[in-house]
């Protein structure tokens, strides 16, 4: 019952006029950003974070949280209409969404995606409300070894579930952590890694510089190159009658929706995993569960519903470790976490005690954002279809300018703008070679915590790494992390041993 009271207080915060306006604005911005091919929640949050310095932290996170949600809804739009995923989180939606659009059933696919997103979002927010307070209580007992074990788990998730080239994923993690070490040493206060003695490195590398570089500049360069301005937008006639009929038809897909919601939520909770593996796994499970798996990939509504409910559920799920443990559950929440540090809030379990209005305001706003995103999405489908036709020669310069100005604002140092350009260009070049970049962004946000927790633990244990395995909670988390690190190896060995595959 205590939770209900807190939630009601949260609603009082979320429904304040300014916050309500920000929820609507966040949903609209998120839907547009999500609908643009190549851009997703992480790009939107990275590019717009500097703009939220205008409002208090609670309002800022409400805006960005709504944007996160809106982008999850919006991602489906370009997946279905263009066949180009709006973001990696919507990749699985293209598998069946695009064939549906090509069969002239675009309206049904869009309504199914929006409804599934709503169901996934709602179920996950309810789960979130129930799980968050006990987890935060539990996490209060965590010391540096547990924190480090959790961070290791976050990075292990990338290795185990990321599905990318393993040495390149490790490389991305290491380089992100290394960039976080630039500046002043946290213990001795000595300057370190001051490249070329440039004074700009003394204040360290702000995570936003890397995030905007990679997700703003690098991503746009990538999208401009890969799409080359040739896009075929499917036609969709959206009528009220069509929407109602599509909604009625969805009763056959409830099972996939529920499965996607729960699966997505729990995958989302895993540190660092986020919505992309969540939605891909939900698609896979839906196909395995189905009586006629051969219809998947040819326009099966379940193939749209499962990943869409999962990616929204996962986006809520990924906020759970961010708020309760201070460990982000996805690249987007990593940037939100960095934002919280800029706003002067310390992420972690104490947030639930010291900043109740912030936490519960955010949770309540997610309920509201979910509803608004659904309504705006269905009502303005034609407007979002126009976004898809927006030429990149307008979009790209506007985003570049936002990146440059946004990269300058936090530290007000041109040094950071140059650094951002370098990161953007390098990010683009690395991405072309299949280097995953999300781990680097997560690592630069978590780096200071990682270094502090490992150094404090080692000091506590007089230099023995055994401390991570002697304390029960830390030992369990370490074991899971090591399991995840070893997972790809296990798969590789099994593949080699399985008959018929012996090469």
């Amino acid at each position: 019952m205590e939770i209900l009271g807190l939630l009601l207080e949260g609603f009082a915060v979320a429904l304040e006029p300014i916050n309500l306006a920000l929820i609507v604005a966040g949903c609209i911005a998120g839907l547009f950003i999500g609908a643009m091919p190549g851009l997703g929640s992480v790009n939107g949050v990275a590019i717009l974070l500097p703009m939220t310095f205008l409002v208090p932290p609670t309002s800022a996170i409400i805006f960005l949280g709504s944007l996160y949600y809106g982008a999850m809804y919006g991602g489906a739009i370009s997946s279905i209409m263009l066949g180009i995923p709006g973001a990696s989180t919507a990749v699985a939606t293209t598998f069946d969404g695009r064939p549906m659009a090509l069969q002239g059933k675009a309206d049904r696919a869009l309504v199914a995606a929006a409804t599934a997103s709503f169901v996934g979002g709602t179920i996950s927010v309810v789960l979130f409300t129930l799980f968050a307070p006990p987890l935060a209580d539990f996490a209060l007992a965590f010391g540096p070894p547990e924190e480090f074990a959790l961070l290791l788990l976050a990075f292990a998730t990338f290795i185990g579930l990321g599905g990318d080239d393993i040495p390149k994923t490790f490389f991305s993690i290491f380089i992100g952590l290394m960039f976080s070490a630039v500046g002043l040493d946290i213990v001795s206060g000595n300057p370190r890694l001051i490249f070329f003695d440039l004074p700009g490195f003394y204040h360290g590398i702000n995570f936003l510089v890397l995030a905007i570089g990679i997700y703003g500049i690098g991503e746009i360069l990538w999208t401009v190159e890969t799409t080359r301005g040739e896009m075929v937008v499917s036609r969709a006639a959206v009528t009220i009658r069509g929407v109602v009929r599509a909604l009625a038809d969805l009763r056959h897909n409830i099972r996939s929706m529920l499965m996607g919601s729960f699966l997505g939520y729990f995958v989302g909770i895993l540190p660092a995993a986020g919505a992309t593996p969540g939605s891909l796994m939900a698609y896979g499970v839906a196909r395995t569960m189905s009586k006629n798996p051969e219809t998947y990939g040819k326009g099966n509504v379940d193939g749209v519903v499962a990943p869409e409910s999962a990616n929204n559920a996962a986006s809520t799920g990924s906020m759970l470790p961010m708020l309760t443990l201070g460990i982000p559950g996805s690249p987007t929440t990593a940037i939100l976490l960095g934002g919280m540090v800029i706003w002067g809030l310390e992420p972690g379990p104490l947030l639930f005690i010291e900043h109740k209005e912030f936490v519960w305001g955010l949770i309540a706003s997610l309920y509201a954002a979910n509803l608004f995103a659904l309504l705006i999405n269905i009502a303005f489908i034609p407007a979002f279809l126009m976004v898809l036709r927006m030429p990149f020669t307008i979009l790209a310069p506007v985003i570049f300018i936002l990146c440059v100005v946004g990269g300058y604002a936090p530290t007000q140092d041109m040094h950071d703008v140059w650094l951002m350009l370098i990161f953007g260009v390098m990010g683009y070049l690395l991405r072309k070679l299949d280097y995953p970049l999300a781990p680097a962004v997560l690592a630069i946000v978590l780096g200071p915590l990682a270094e502090a927790s490992v150094r404090q633990s080692l000091i506590m244990a007089h230099g023995s790494f055994g401390i991570f395995f002697e304390r029960p909670i830390s030992a369990i988390i370490m074991a899971i992390a090591i399991g995840l690190f070893a997972w790809p190896l296990f798969i590789a060995i099994r593949r080699r041993l399985s008959p018929g595959n012996a090469d």
Binding site: R192, L221, F400, I401, L421, L433
Partner: protein, 165 residues
Amino acid sequence: MRRAELVMALFMAAFSLYIMWKSAELPVGWIEGEGPGGGAFPFWLAAGMLVCCGWIVLRWARRQSPPSRSEEPYMDRTALRVFAIGAGSLFVMIGLIHLVGVYVVIPLYLIFYMRGIGHHAWSVTASLALAMPVATFLFFEIALKITLPKGYTEPAFYPLYEMLL
């Protein structure tokens, strides 16, 4: 593509070595009574990067990663052109900010990109080129009280400040 993967891995390996050397400016070992030295964390991370580069090169040699098997060029002519325009124009834009400030650069950049590359109508280009600096000024300078760099155009803004702040 194949050559690009090797070159990038070697470049990153050299970068890792540089970081290791740079980290070693601070103690990288254990300091009695104080714990690990200030350089230890980045030093071992860079060592990890170096190992990864070695691993990437190994996989490259055994043709295990997709780019190492790819016959396609790393960047074809179109990609190179698009990249050069994007990155090059950003480079020039940021450089010009030092000289003439953001409020001159924003409209110039929009005109260059929208008109020069996109061939959009003058009406669209001009309206955005006018609206964006004004919106930026109102948002950053007035609402957020963050002064953006103005280079040599700084004095032109004094009357505006007097009026608005």
